[in-house]
Subunit: 84 residues, 2 copies
């Protein structure tokens, strides 16, 4: 299964990378850009037996996000799972 | 406009974060996970005049990616633009 995880800093959490990008853009000629938030995009493959219910795979990926990929205290995450 | 940029390390480029995650997962009880690649997910808002052709906005975001958000030597990027 082809898994894509999207991780973003929670609203209200300071995002220094986003602030740095937002401040740099006008100097490069890009105006009108606001609300820059920098997160992570993680792609991975999960091998699951053919008869695994989709819900089990979702549960496993969700646990993976909570335990390792994201920091749920300061980050939100979503993910998609595709057959591949 | 609601812009989302997805940045991934190019194929063949070493991705130490991905390697670290892949090695950590079995110790946490997650088996069968391979091809972990860690990239960036950037969200931003672009203010454009109402009569701006969509192609112009795409061109501007593409230039922003090439000049600041991504490093095109070692990273690939894609983006989506939605009315918001």
């Amino acid at each position: 299964m082809d898994v894509r995880v999207y991780i973003t800093p929670k609203k209200g959490i300071l995002d220094p990378q986003g602030v740095a990008i937002e401040r740099s853009l006008p100097a490069l000629g890009f105006d009108g850009v606001t609300d820059v938030r920098v997160g992570k995009f993680i792609e991975l493959q999960v091998a699951v037996p053919n008869d695994t219910p989709a819900g089990d795979t979702r549960g496993e990926v969700d646990e993976m996000c909570r335990k390792l990929l994201a920091n749920p205290i300061i980050e939100d995450y979503t993910f998609t799972i595709d057959d591949a």
